[in-house]
């Protein structure tokens, strides 16, 4: 991009992209740290993640202000228009990712006070895959690479499968020993949150594809779970 006759326009678009990248990096590390707090039973880290969500919210506001300003003053067209609309959408997805990560951290705080349950091991695996997807999507954004975004989008299937199997595993645990129910319920919600983060990451991938190619991704997103609601429906974070 770049090379606008108006150089200030370039600078503003650049700043928008940088803010998105920073937001993405922050969301990714929030997820990493939330998982880390859960696995390492580190309540301090979990508290820091919960507090860190503020930063992402602030960045989302900044993106909103920037886009409104650009739309009003520059009358963007074509690729610029798509870049600005995409930034708005990506920022709201990233903000949701941040919220889910914070929710994972909150639950980690609770889980740290009760005994460990077995399936905790599956959570970090799932979290790692989702964090990877986020990283790939962010790379695709920085490089404006639609193919990379498409590849990341396909990986969501993996996450859904992992979520489904983890769900079954947790139900089994709860049926075996009702004392596990509290911990397992929390884990179930954590898994659900991570799965939702994956969905938002795929949304971002779709947006990047639209940004680069100007068209939505053809075909439906591969769905492997039979239980998750469609990703379009936003749900309250429990």
């Amino acid at each position: 991009m770049g090379d606008h006759t108006m150089r200030a326009y370039d600078a503003e678009l650049e700043r928008l992209a940088q803010t998105i990248t920073r937001m993405g990096g922050l969301a990714e590390s929030q997820l990493d740290q939330a998982i880390g707090a859960l696995v390492g039973r580190d309540s301090d880290l979990a508290a820091r993640v919960v507090a860190g969500d503020r930063q992402i919210d602030d960045l989302e506001h900044e993106v909103q202000n920037l886009t409104v300003r650009l739309l009003a003053l520059r009358q963007p067209m074509a690729i610029d228009l798509r870049a600005i609309v995409a930034a708005l959408r990506i920022s709201s997805d990233l903000e949701r990712i941040g919220d889910y990560a914070a929710n994972v951290a909150k639950r980690a705080l609770v889980l740290n006070r009760i005994p460990v349950v077995e399936p905790v091991g599956a959570i970090p695996r799932m979290g790692r895959v989702v964090a990877e997807i986020i990283r790939e999507v962010l790379d695709a954004y920085v490089e404006s690479d639609a193919d990379k975004a498409l590849a990341a989008w396909r990986r969501d299937e993996e996450v859904d499968e992992m979520h489904t199997s983890l769900f079954r595993e947790l139900i089994t645990y709860m049926m075996e020993d009702p004392r596990n129910i509290t911990a397992c319920t929390h884990l179930m919600f954590i898994a659900k949150n991570i799965e939702r983060i994956g969905d938002h990451a795929t949304n971002v991938a779709e947006t990047i594809h639209f940004l680069v190619r100007g068209t939505p991704i053809e075909g439906d997103r591969p769905k492997a779970d039979g239980i998750a609601p469609p990703p379009e429906a936003e749900e309250e974070i429990p």
Binding site: G2, D3, T5, M77, A78, I79, L81, G214
Partner: protein, 269 residues
């Protein structure tokens, strides 16, 4: 960048050119030795507003003026290729240019009412083409034309005042009324709002949108926002070539050609 050999991106032409209201194929225009248009092929669809955009000197106005043979007035100008109006070649079929201009009206960049009364301005075309047999009939034509041009409420009590005494926007709508009065099939507009303020521009644009019901409109504009607001299809000209043509929405959200992209986003070399 040379795109001369390739046809324009997007759906510039229809499979059957007889479906188009105006159809141009391989139109070259020369001013003396200088080539102003290179192999332009485009189909203008009926009852649509087609916007032609592009940087200054790209040939969009030249092309517009080919459609009613206004270029004939320039001696050094030579037109090659074929332009059809309803399947009839306007350059070779023996259609009289004077008759052609009654069917293809034109509105110019600067509002140019005749220094006559408002009534006479609108009545001029019908008079020279003998469209009315009586004074009452002529009155009728003038009033309906003014009404279609959305000017009737502003001027109905002052038809005998000078047309040049109106405001810029009113003058331009008077010019549109004047063009409508000869019942053309196609109206060509050459940057009709470039001399108008935003409110007058909005009124003219609203009018263009209404006129689309009855007429086929081709508009040349420097304002991409205007093209985006009023047109259904947009063609992008660059250095005498039609680079890209397509649905306005597609051109402005997702242009196919790098040049179009550069032009509409303000990254022009």
């Amino acid at each position: 960048m040379n795109v001369a050999s390739k046809p324009a991106l997007g759906q510039a032409t229809l499979d059957d050119r007889r479906l188009a209201k105006v159809s141009a194929r391989d139109v070259d225009v020369f001013y003396g030795a200088k080539q102003a248009l290179k192999s332009v092929s485009i189909d203008i669809r009926p009852n649509e507003v087609t916007a032609l955009i592009g940087p200054s000197g790209c040939g969009k106005s030249t092309f517009l003026r080919c459609l009613n043979r206004m270029n004939d007035l320039i001696e050094s100008c030579r037109v090659v290729g074929s332009i059809w109006l309803d399947g009839e070649d306007i350059y070779t079929s023996g259609l009289d240019p004077v008759q052609l201009r009654a069917r293809v009206g034109m509105v110019f960049q600067k509002p140019n009412p005749f220094p006559k009364t408002i009534y006479d301005n609108v009545a001029y075309g019908p008079r020279i083409h003998g469209l009315s047999r009586s004074r009452a009939e002529l009155d009728e034509i003038v009033m309906t034309s003014l009404e279609k041009a959305g000017l009737i409420d502003e001027v109905k009590d002052r038809l005998q005042e000078q047309g040049t005494g109106l405001s810029g926007g009113q003058q331009q709508r008077l010019c549109i009324a004047r063009a409508i009065a000869v019942s053309p099939e196609v109206i060509l507009m050459d940057e009709p709002c470039s001399a108008l303020d935003p409110i007058a521009t909005a009124k003219v644009e609203e009018l263009i949108d209404e006129l689309r019901q009855r007429y086929t409109i081709v508009i040349v504009t420097h304002s991409m926002q205007q093209a985006a607001r009023v047109s259904q299809r947009t063609g992008f000209f660059h250095l005498g070539e039609l680079v890209e043509c397509g649905e306005t929405e597609q051109i402005f959200t997702n242009p196919r050609h790098k040049l179009t992209q550069g032009y509409i986003t303000g990254r022009f070399g």
